[in-house]
């Protein structure tokens, strides 16, 4: 199995170790990983602002870069990027997105799909809060995949929020700058909820959530450990 | 016994009884008024709607008068402790009963601290879709213009989501279904 890794901007610039963790995990599952050198942003920020012309620039680059790729899958380390590529590119291409976009797969979705995660010998002692990133949960309906993977870890206690208990992390892309008071408050409610469960370790499926929550935790001096899914799995398989 | 209906009706805040004969129903209602909702010192004021069958209305009047002191009202009013009127159908999975007003005003079951609704061989529906299919096609005795589905006592949760009953309508809801021979008027 050969995959090409698509690394979201936030991970590339702010959390590069997470991409290396992902490569480690994938290789441990017997998957060979390649990385396209000229990859760029998927275009979601422009799309979410409503500026299709700018979003199209990114989308066209993505298509040109990957349409001839020989890999089996394009594994993306983000739910929001996958959602952009698989759901929104078609409105940028006048309703007709290339069919090979089906190759695009989110990281935990991919690990779950061929039962690949079972090849990892995962061990962990302790409790972790699993934050369900919104795009992953609501746009892509990817929930049982990361949960199954985490449930397979011996010794791990998973804590989640029910949907009436603070759901979104409050980042929302441009929202963080447009309505910062609300953004900050939503994120802080999330952190308070996690702390109320007596947990210090947080796993999330999207680096945007991690960046936001980490920024808030730094301001309050909360001692919390944030893991992107790949970071946590890499750590548990050592 | 229509178990599913009884359970859902209870969840909605109502109390359901079943009887095989009109006389049994009369006993049940007398029991509700004098025993279950024991009036204590007060003389219960009861309004009996004109939409009840003659047999039922007369039987109720005499049974109640026999049991104890009672004040019969001749029109629906806030003075009533109990308003007794008729329903025509029950819907199991919604826990609702349906009343029809072609013969009597809709207001009979609005006034009174407790509403008691009785039906002789009510139409029975499993789901709300079944009910609407029957009403639309004319198979039901209920007519769209004059029907109300009742699923519980009057209630509100507008202040801090705390549930209060008897907001503008009855505080309590009782339903008595009379199925001749203990069987149901199946549809």
């Amino acid at each position: 199995m050969k995959v090409s890794l698509f690394v979201p901007c936030i991970i590339n610039h702010l959390m590069p170790d997470s991409a290396f963790s992902a490569i480690n995990v994938l290789e441990k599952c017997g998957v060979s990983v390649g990385v396209e050198k000229f990859q760029v942003c998927c275009g979601q920020p422009a799309y979410n602002m409503g500026i299709y012309d700018h979003a199209k620039i990114f989308a066209e680059k993505f298509v040109r870069l990957y349409e001839k790729a020989s890999c089996d899958k394009i594994v993306v380390l983000s739910g929001s990027c996958v959602s952009m590529i698989k759901k929104n590119y078609k409105s940028l291409f006048l309703g007709q997105a290339p069919s090979w976009l089906e190759k695009v797969s989110e990281f935990s979705e991919f690990l779950y799909s061929e039962g690949l995660y079972k090849k990892l010998k995962l061990k962990y002692r302790g409790a972790v809060f699993y934050h369900k990133s919104c795009h992953l949960l609501n746009e892509l309906e990817i929930d049982k995949e990361p949960k199954s993977i985490l449930s397979s870890i011996n010794g791990l206690k998973i804590i989640e929020a029910k949907w009436h208990e603070n759901t979104c992390c409050g980042f929302g892309g441009a929202f963080a700058a447009t309505l910062p008071d609300l953004s900050i408050d939503i994120g802080n409610s999330k952190l308070d909820f996690i702390l109320s469960k007596g947990v210090n370790n947080i796993i999330a499926g999207d680096a945007g959530c991690i960046t936001h929550l980490k920024s808030l935790a730094m301001a309050c001096d909360y001692k919390l450990n944030f893991y992107y899914m790949a970071d946590f799995l890499d750590m548990c398989s050592n | 016994m229509n178990e599913v209906f009884a359970g859902r009706f209870k969840l909605n805040g109502g109390v359901y009884y079943e009887a095989g004969l009109i006389s049994d129903a009369i006993d049940i209602i007398t029991g509700i008024i004098f025993v279950r909702e024991a009036p204590g010192e007060k003389i219960p004021a009861v309004y009996i709607s004109a939409c009840l069958s003659v047999e039922l209305a007369a039987g109720l009047k005499s049974s109640l008068a026999e049991k104890g002191e009672i004040k019969f009202l001749d029109h629906p009013s806030d003075e009533a402790d109990f308003s007794i009127s008729a329903f025509k159908a029950l819907i199991s999975t919604s826990g609702s009963i349906a009343i029809c007003h072609k013969t009597a005003p809709r207001n009979d079951s609005i006034f009174g601290a407790a509403s008691v609704l009785v039906s002789e061989n009510p139409e029975k529906y499993d789901t709300i879709d079944d009910f609407f299919a029957a009403v639309s096609s004319g198979k039901s005795c209920l007519v769209p213009d004059f029907m109300t589905m009742i699923s519980g006592p009057s209630k509100t949760a507008d202040i801090e989501k705390q549930i209060i009953t008897g907001m503008h309508g009855p505080k309590k809801l009782f339903a008595v279904g009379i199925f001749a021979d203990g069987s149901s008027g199946a549809h």
Binding site: A174, T178, D181, H212 | T93
Partner: protein, 466 residues
């Protein structure tokens, strides 16, 4: 407190709302209770809930694309039942007709049951201006109207108020003894409104759904105030939007099924009445408002917004609504569905900030009983905002477009984008030296959001150096 269609600065409003701890707690309790009850009710229903959703969506798909024709058919069938019907595309004509009817009957006041469209058209203010007192009878509406406010939620108008707020309000406005006991407060309202009901000549209600094939409307409630409003007074006026019309009465069941569970977490509402032909000696009028409805129905993207059954579930689950309540939106219909509809009613210039008031988390879409893809609708509004050159853009929106332009030029090229990190690292070093931390304007508000250090090398740099 806000009046509908007012200019609201959401940022400013949210600061006030976030600082109000009482309000926060009221909203948090109310919305989480509603969500828990909704889940319980859906669980009890089992697979039938999903079936009702699909059936309701299918019926809406039929109705929305033939809305004009259905409106005409509805009126014809209602008239055949003896109901006088009026269809108005503008609010003023509707208001004038309603006032005319009331004055003809010589009524000094009307009893009203819950009607969001009466908020939309500004009915209460118009009636007062014409010497007619509108008496709100739904407890929540009664409370907000006493307070001089507008409802803060689709189905729970006084959601933002605590028992203490209501106690203070009743003591001040009704001259009753102060009590915080919720039952006592409800009974105070009941007693006050009883006389009004019994002496009323006219009752005004809304309608939840209206069937075109027989001209009958349904009115859903729990308190019994609607039954007293439409059934007791001699004259009944129902005001509703054309989007309430469905093609077949037989489909009512599915809508009622999903509404009860999603709105109030009940298996069925206490009372669902069907109203068509009048009782003898009574009169009935249906006032149907079509303003913007046909326009939305014709819109290839937004027509699905008309599926809305007005349950308010999207409001309960929205993290923004949970903090600012309906008052923060400046429009009759608030929360996620409000953002989807507002630009049609208020224009894009008034909604420039409103369409940003979403993290696009998608929970509204998940909980919507008729599966309206609200995040996609909000994104489409954002697109139309920029796409239409006739819309005057705010400075902030202009700045966003410039930022996006720069982003698209720099970040779309691997070489140019690799120049950014060193620049940011330098900036952070300077920021740390001067201010003690990595400061990013807008991100770091009131020092509540810091920022991690930028790693020395990006992933791509490390991977391709190997």
């Amino acid at each position: 407190m806000n009046k509908n269609n007012a200019e609201i600065n959401i940022g400013e409003f949210s600061r006030g709302a976030l600082a109000d701890n009482k309000l926060r707690e009221n909203l948090r309790k109310a919305t989480s209770t509603a969500l828990i009850k909704r889940d319980e009710a859906v669980k009890i229903s089992g697979p039938s809930f999903e079936r009702s959703r699909e059936r309701a969506i299918a019926e809406r798909n039929v109705s929305i694309c033939s809305l004009r024709e259905l409106t005409a058919r509805f009126c014809k069938n209602a008239e055949a039942r003896g109901v006088r019907t009026f269809v108005f595309d503008d609010y003023v004509s509707a208001l004038n007709e309603i006032t005319k009817i009331i004055k003809e009957k010589g009524a000094g006041y009307v009893v009203k049951s819950k009607s969001m469209i009466s908020e939309e058209i500004g009915l209460n203010d118009h009636l007062r201006a014409n010497g007619i007192e509108p008496v709100e009878t739904d407890l929540g509406e009664f409370i907000v109207s006493l307070a001089g406010e507008s409802p803060s939620h689709l189905t729970a108008p006084a959601l933002h108020k605590s028992r203490r707020d209501v106690a203070e309000l009743f003591a001040a406005k009704l001259g009753v003894k102060y009590t915080e006991n919720v039952e006592e407060l409800a009974m105070i309202a009941r007693k006050y409104l009883r006389e009004k009901f019994l002496d009323a000549k006219i009752g005004i209600s809304g309608a939840n759904f209206a069937a075109a094939d027989n001209g009958v409307i349904s009115i859903v409630e729990n308190e019994c105030n609607a039954r007293l409003s439409f059934g007791y007074p001699q004259t009944h006026i129902a005001v509703f939007g054309a989007e309430k019309i469905i093609s077949r009465f037989s489909e009512m069941g599915s809508f009622l099924d999903i509404l009860s569970k999603s709105a109030t977490g009940q298996i069925a509402n206490a009372y669902t009445s069907f109203v068509g032909a009048c009782e003898e000696g009574h009169e009935r009028y249906f006032i149907i408002i079509t303003k913007n409805r046909y326009k939305i129905a014709d819109d290839p993207v937004f027509s699905e917004a008309l599926r809305c059954v007005r349950c308010g579930a999207c409001q309960n689950i929205c993290p923004i609504f949970q903090r600012i309540s309906g008052h923060g939106y400046g429009f009759t219909y608030a929360g996620p569905i409000g953002i989807a509809l507002a630009p049609f009613f208020l224009g894009y210039e008034k909604c420039s900030e409103l369409i940003e008031a979403s993290t696009l988390c998608g929970f509204c879409k998940k909980i919507c009983p008729v599966k309206i893809d609200i995040p996609s609708l909000i994104l489409e509004h954002r697109r139309r905002y920029y796409e239409d050159p006739s819309i005057v853009k705010t400075p902030f929106k202009k700045a966003k477009k410039i930022f996006s332009y720069i982003h698209s030029k720099i970040m779309s090229g691997p070489f140019l984008s690799s120049l950014i990190p060193p620049f940011i690292r330098l900036y952070f070093k300077a920021s740390k030296y001067l201010g003690g931390r990595n400061y990013i304007p807008l991100w770091d508000k009131y020092e509540k959001r810091h920022f991690m250090d930028m790693p020395e090398k990006t992933f791509m740099e490390r991977y391709f150096k190997k």
